[in-house]
Structure formats: structure tokens, C-alpha cells
Symmetry: C2
Subunit: 510 residues, 2 copies
């Protein structure tokens, strides 16, 4: 694999000057076009052998193009902000918005590579982590992002010379460390692992380009040229892809409406099985509320102490009582350690990113709790029903959401999802009460009435959502909230049970 | 997840009769359309709980549609043909051709599920196997195949009743075995593993549909209806996708030509580094040939004894001497245990399948050797250059080929790839000699002259191919075959060294 990048490629100074000028002009024009269209972002990764030009290439790209629209990030040892969260959080964090270019140095491939070479993980774990990266890149590519990865290569001999030179240079020797010589000794193991990386993650939608890094002029031109070539190709294919997607989504929507009209065999949904007569007496409610909140306060304290984080998700029809239920929970929590995020339509900044981006931004640090009042499930609920997400997008979202939650749980986070349900009659009653009660009137919007007309569609969407995303480690808890008292106690106790179980499990493991 | 399939869905007899008639008519019409267009195949999988209707659903689909165009296969314990080959061989084997429908029972998910539930593999291995399946399904979907997977579900209680009834039925009790009750006891573990399966492999391009299997009329209609819905949607989207792909491929070809014309910085290729002056004397040749063949014969014998299989791939420009080199090898082999497959343009049957299909068909059984005179690498060589594979297809092919070879090596197969190279002058000399030598004239075709004009393009394509697919466990061996004697010895000794190393490694492991 890498022998193809040990050919002694060279470019003369004069030739470089000429070609650089052409390249700069082209790259700048492409960047302007990208920015103006604003349809997708570009993510460029540099990985490779120490001394093969990752840093200088990054600098050059920033110099050649307009650096204001380039988001460069070099990943170093994780900060405490980063290490207290799932691994991919830091990659989502520095994702460029649409129209812009991100350059990541020693990004997502760095940790698995080191862990494997140092023997911290075995081959099967290494490959599973590469599969995770593939999934991540696929998620971005499906959204239109152009992903391009450079492996900068020099031979072992060339690296030795490079390190020796660096060591002797009084101005740059501070950049050398013990680890550089240690990794030089491990050169062959790194190369073998790098082969596995390229082999497994060189996909059509996120290709690796291997660049010979021996000659600084050659590698600079080669990197620039490959960025240009790939960007030009992406512009062509992405434009056609977008056209195709619009056409396909429109046709599939027609087809779905046709199929629904035929209504061959509309199944019962799981929501039809709920029992809305469930209720509790006022005194039981008060007692259980006090007990539950006390229990929750203690458990939350223990979670904080142990650095375990929690996510609670609340979904359900309008006026199902999400807000009130959340307040009963937060009353019991230490205000320094939780946050409630309500989600409505995305802002302009949010729309310039992948739909999961705004949720990744709210992932709690170790020991914190985050409560989502509506969530990423909007993708398969309101966005599906209102056509904001195309047929391909919301169908794919089940896998994306499962992968997302899987990463959270894998990181030790406790994730609970509540679906609060009321009967259609009860919703009407609550809407009417909002209309007549001055301090509640603001809560009722025209949109609520429109959503109500699509009650059955929402039920089917919720049924499929529960079918595809309710699993042992992140279950959907269905709560009949026809009686708010009953519902609140049910939620409160579920949260306590889940935290208790998580803490007990941890005791067993440790 | 599965609680959504325990709702007690039922369909009455009368209703069933009416709906069945509509459904049959629709399905049959769709099948005819699929066959007529012949653009892609359909693969339907049935997995799920014993007694939930996998078999009866398969029978019904065969009854409702024209069974001549349905390729049904129920996977049982692997035959010796199957167990002597990589795991996915048997799934490629029963892939339906374009225009037809394949139905697989207890297919690719069955083994990982059992292995995980029985504790033969751990969670990380289980998940890695699911990743493999995802890759397989993605490969098919990229080719246009519609993949649809049914998980047939019944509750534990319903399964108990089903098994008891079966046991008491004198006509069907032979279908019961010890294992059925054992698996009933393990119901919860199976369901938990099934959740993981659906969670990880429910992709947009290969969705799972969970069907409640309690009522035989409901489940029949539901399965039929879902096949209809999915097929209708696939027809719509695949037609648009094909249109878009043609447009994109044409535009990208233009763009590539433009970029090549600019010719900013065409790099040297790895083939430019070859040394064509390498040669051996006649006597050395004779000695080494005899020694090498004797060594190969012994090693081949040992490989047969140990049930280890080998694949040798030969690629290179026309007249590079592939045929002669192969003959020097086969002379040393036991004719019962090897096969040579020459590959030219695919036949009609082959074109009705994924491009890898015809190569999967030639994978040797345990202990055998297969020699490929040209191979799957045609995808990134001739098909790329002649435009038979679009830009997206040949770029994606590197990942597909790496995954394919990875499966072979994972299964213990020894894989060696030889690139025989000659100089452009030498090719001309050999062409001319073919023209004047009567018994060689048939070997020279107009196509050879045409390919010769694209010499540089082939060199660049070969360079990129070597860059992307030469890895430690399946390297490309570059052989200067300017002197046929030199080349033959080099190949012979490489093969011997590789077999020897594989056998020694096995000794170390065992």
C-alpha cells in the first residue's frame, strides 16, 4: 500500500511557483462557490506519519484559501470537557457548517490507531471502532458532506532523517519529544495498523488519498490538487444528487399517499392498548410525590458523585403534559447539575448542520443530567409527517438514532425515553382550557390544532418509532398521562428505578 | 421493540379472502414488471421466533406470485461444500439474478444469533459480524438490489402454546425436536440478541419489518402488503436513481477528462520504478524451475492434507506472459486439486448479477487452489478505463474488493496477487511475434492494440489499485516479466514462500 508513496516524487522550485499560482486561484474560486451555494460542508482530515507534512499542508490550505471560512482543529489529548463525554462528541463539536471547510488534524483515527498499536485493544475491537467511524462518515456523507482523508507518508529512513534534523534545529527542537523516537522504533507496527485503517475505511463516500510526503513542494501541490479534484467532482455529483433526491422524495410522497388511501390493512398501534382510566388519589399522589422526589434527590447526588450522566427524553402529543412532568423532576435536582432543553423548529445555525448536531451539543458532561423536551425523535415524528424530512431521510434516521444512542449508552450514560399519551378527547379539553385561561393562552398555537388533525398519522409514526428504537438499554416508557397525577408519579418512579438499577449494576461490575 | 408485535392483531376469514385477492393481483403484476425490466433483484429474508410463520409466509409468497421466478432457499446446517468456504459464499450462491426474487429463510443472521446466544462469541464479535452483514447488504443495495428483512414475532406464551400443539399433532410432530424446547427456555436471550440485530442492521437500504405472527391470516396479509409497499417504493426510487446515476457518470467522466487535460501534476507511478534488465541465465532457470516445482508440489500436497486453500491472481498488460507463468505453476500441481479460471467480458448470466458474483462462484473449497487469469480487479482496470464501470462504481470497488479479500483471508485462505509487467517496447515485440507465428496468431486481437494506446492510463489505474489494495495479508507482488525466465522463477518462488509461511504460521498457532 504505502510503497506507492516511496517513489521519490519531487517538484522544482520554479515549477512549484507556477503551479502554486494556478492552484491557489482555482481553490479560492471553488471555496467561494461552496460558500455561496451553502448546500453542504467539506471535511478534510490529515493523518499519517510524523514529519510527513500534516501541519504544513494544513497551513498551506489556510494560506491558499480564505481562512475565515475554514474551521481548523488539531486534536490533542482530550480536555476534561471532552473526556467526560462520548468519544464522537468532540468531532461533532468542530464540524464546519454548510458552505465551509473543516480541517481536522489527528482526528478520529488517532485514538484507535494508538490504542491498537499499544495493545490496549485487540484486532476485533480495533475493527469495530473503524466500523463506528465508517458509520459516522456515512452519516455525514448522506447529508451531502464531502469527506476527504489524507494519509501523509514517508519511509522509515526518511522519518529518521527528519527527526534528527528537527532535533538539531534550535528553533524547532522544542517540538520533539521522547515519544517521537519511541514511535519511530514502532514504525512498522504503525504502518501495519495504518494499512488496516485504509483498507477498512476507504469508502466511495469518504476516500483516503495517500500522499508521498518526502518533498515539501511535491506534497503541497499534490494535496492542493487532490482537494481541487475532489471538490470539483463533489460539486458536480452533489448537484445532481440533490436534484434526484427532490424528485424521488416528491414521487415517494405521492406513492405513500396512494398506499395510505388504499388502506389495505392499517394495523392497530401500540398506543391503542393504553389504559386511560389509570389514576391515583390526591393523597396517594402527594405521598408518592414527596417520597419519589426525595428518592430522586438522593440518587441524583450519587450519580453526580460517581460521574455518571443521565438523559431523559420527553415526547408525546401537544398538551400531553411534558412541561409539568419535567418540572416535578427538576424540583428534586441540584440546579448546578442539570439542564432542560426544549426543542422547536431549528434555528438558522442549526439548519446549517446535520440534524443530530444540535442534540450532540447538549450531551451532558460526566455527572450531569440533561432533559430533552422534544428531541432528535422529531426527525421521525413531525419532520416525517410534515415532509421536512424526505422518505429516505426519516427511514434512515432509525439507524442513525440507534447508532447515536448506542454511543451514549456505551459511554455509561443512562438514557430513558418517555412517551406521554392522552386521549384525543382529553387533548381537546386541555386545548379549550388553555383558550380560556389567560396565563395558559400563550401555550396554544395554531400549529397545535393542525397537528391534532393528523392524530392518526402521529400514532402510526410513534408506533413505528417505538418498534425501531425501544431496546433494553434505552427503552421507551409509555405513560398514560390522562390523569396528570398518575403520569407524574409513573415517570418519577421510572426515573428512580432506572438510576437505581444503573448504580447497582455499577456496584456489581466494580 | 417487540412489544409492538404483541397487540393481538387479527383478521377474519371473510376479510382475508377479499384482501388476499387484491394482494395477489397486485403482487403478481409487480413481479411481472420486475421481470420485464430486469434491472435489479429483490432479496427477502425471513428470520424470527420459531412458530411465528417464517415457513408459511414463504409458501404463501410462492403461491401468490409466479414461483418460477422466485429462488427460495432455506439455510440449514452447512453442507461440506459450504463449510469448506468463507461464510458468505453460500449467500452469494443463492442470490437471485436481476428481475427475480430471492427468499432466504434463516439466512445470514442465523449463525451470529445462535453463536451469541450460546456464548460462542462475545458482544464485540457479535457486533463485528453484524457490521459484516451491513457491508454485504450495502454492496447489494448499491447495485440496485432491494433488500427486505422480516422478523416474525410471537410472545413467549404464544410460542409455548404453538409448540405444545405441534407436539400433539400426529402429522406434524416429527418437525419438533429437543432443541425447540431448549430454545423456548432461552426465549428472553434470543429476544435480547434479536433487538441488537434489528438495532444495528435496520438501515435505510435494508430495512427490518417486524410482523406480529400470532394470527396466521393477519401475518399473511401483513407480509404480503409490506412486500407490495416496499416493491412499489423501490420501483419508483430505483428508476429515478438509475437516471441520476447515468447523468452523474456522464458529467463526472467529462470532469475527469477536463482534469486530465489540465494535467497539473501527473505523478510517477510505482510501475516506473521496475527494473526490466533483470534476467537469469538459461542453466540457472532450468535448475531453479526444477527445484521450485518440486518444492511447490510438496507444499501443495501439505496444503491439501491440511485443508488449506489458495488463490493466485494474475493481472498485467496484454502479452505480459500470464498464461505461460500459470502453466509453470500448474505443472507442479495435482490436477484434482486446482482449477484455472480465465476471465474475459462477463456472460449474459454473469451480467445479471453483481460483478463480484462470478468470482465468488470460483472460490475454492478447503484444500484446493484456484488460479485467476484476470480477476475482480478488472473492475478498477478495464472497466474503469473503458467506462463500463461508472466513477462511483470503480471508486467504491476498492472498499468492496478489500472487504471481499478480507473475508477470504479471515477464513484462512492464502491469497497472492501478481502483477506481471513488461516494457512498452517489449509488448510491441511480442505483438509482432504473435502476428507472424501461426500458432500464436489467435492470441492477438484488435482489442490488444486498442488497450496498448491506453498504456499510461492503465499504469495510473494499476498504481492506484496497488495503493488501495496491497496489504500485508494480501500483497501485490510486482514482477518484471521482460525476461520470461526471470519472471517465472520469481513467481514460482513467491508462491512457495507464501505457502511455506502460511504452513509455518499454522504450526505456530496450533
Amino acid at each position: 500500500m504505502f510503497q506507492t508513496a516511496e517513489l521519490g516524487q519531487k517538484v522544482l522550485k520554479k515549477e512549484f511557483k507556477d503551479q502554486e499560482l494556478v492552484l491557489r486561484t482555482n481553490l479560492l474560486a471553488l471555496q467561494q462557490q461552496l460558500l455561496k451555494q451553502g448546500d453542504y460542508s467539506v471535511l478534510i482530515d490529515f493523518a499519517g506519519v510524523r514529519g510527513a507534512g500534516k501541519g504544513t499542508s494544513t497551513n498551506l490550505l489556510n494560506k491558499w484559501m480564505d481562512a475565515r471560512w475554514i474551521l481548523t482543529h488539531a486534536y490533542d489529548k482530550p480536555t476534561d470537557e471532552e473526556s467526560g463525554r462520548p468519544r464522537f462528541w468532540k468531532f461533532w463539536r468542530f464540524m464546519p457548517p454548510k458552505g465551509q471547510i473543516g480541517i481536522h488534524l489527528s482526528g478520529r483515527y488517532s485514538r484507535p490507531l494508538l490504542d491498537y498499536v499499544y495493545g490496549n485493544i485487540d484486532l476485533s475491537q480495533f475493527r469495530h471502532q473503524l466500523d463506528h467511524i465508517n458509520t459516522f462518515e456515512k452519516t455525514l456523507a448522506d447529508d451531502g458532506t464531502m469527506v476527504l482523508k489524507f494519509w501523509m507518508h514517508i519511509s522509515k529512513e526518511a522519518q529518521r532523517k527528519r527527526l534528527e534534523k528537527l532535533e538539531k534545529d534550535p528553533l524547532r527542537s522544542w517540538r520533539m519529544s521522547e515519544i517521537d523516537w519511541k514511535h519511530y522504533e514502532m514504525y512498522d507496527q504503525f504502518i501495519e495498523a495504518a494499512e488496516l485503517i485504509v483498507m477498512q475505511t476507504n469508502t466511495g463516500h469518504a476516500p483516503w488519498e495517500i500522499v508521498e510526503g518526502g518533498d515539501k513542494r511535491y506534497r503541497a501541490l499534490r494535496v492542493g490538487e487532490l482537494v481541487q479534484e475532489n471538490l470539483e467532482r463533489h460539486m458536480v455529483s452533489e448537484e445532481i444528487r440533490q436534484k434526484y433526491l427532490s424528485e424521488m422524495r416528491a414521487k415517494l410522497e405521492e406513492k405513500t399517499e396512494e398506499q395510505e388511501a388504499e388502506g389495505l390493512n392499517l394495523p392497530k398501534t401500540i398506543l391503542d392498548k393504553l389504559d386511560f382510566s389509570k389514576t391515583v388519589s390526591k393523597s396517594t399522589y402527594r405521598n408518592k410525590l414527596v417520597q419519589g422526589q426525595a428518592r430522586l434527590a438522593a440518587l441524583h447526588g450519587e450519580m453526580i458523585k460517581r460521574g455518571r450522566s443521565t438523559i431523559l427524553v420527553f415526547e408525546g402529543p401537544d398538551a400531553a403534559g411534558k412541561g409539568g412532568t419535567i418540572r416535578q423532576i427538576t424540583e428534586a435536582l441540584d440546579a448546578r447539575y442539570y439542564k432542560v432543553y426544549p426543542f422547536a423548529a431549528p434555528t438558522e445555525t442549526e439548519r446549517a448542520h446535520h440534524y443530530l448536531w444540535r442534540f450532540w451539543n447538549c450531551i451532558p458532561m460526566a455527572g450531569r443530567m440533561t432533559i430533552f423536551d422534544r428531541s432528535w425523535y422529531g426527525r421521525v415524528l413531525v419532520e416525517r409527517i410534515e415532509g421536512f424530512a424526505g422518505d429516505d431521510e426519516w427511514r434512515r434516521a432509525f439507524a442513525e438514532i440507534n447508532d447515536f444512542e448506542d454511543q451514549l449508552i456505551d459511554d455509561g450514560l443512562v438514557l430513558l425515553k418517555f412517551w406521554l399519551q392522552i386521549s384525543k378527547d382529553e387533548q381537546l379539553a386541555r386545548f379549550k382550557s388553555r383558550e380560556v385561561t389567560p396565563h395558559k393562552r400563550w401555550k396554544l398555537q395554531d400549529e397545535d390544532w393542525r397537528n391534532r388533525e393528523k392524530w392518526d398519522e402521529y400514532n402510526v409514526a410513534a408506533h413505528e418509532m417505538i418498534q425501531q428504537t425501544s431496546v433494553k438499554n434505552s427503552p421507551w416508557v409509555l405513560v398514560e398521562n390522562e390523569s396528570k397525577h398518575y403520569g407524574r408519579i409513573a415517570v418519577l418512579e421510572s426515573v428512580c428505578d432506572a438510576l437505581e438499577a444503573a448504580l447497582e449494576n455499577q456496584d456489581h461490575v466494580s
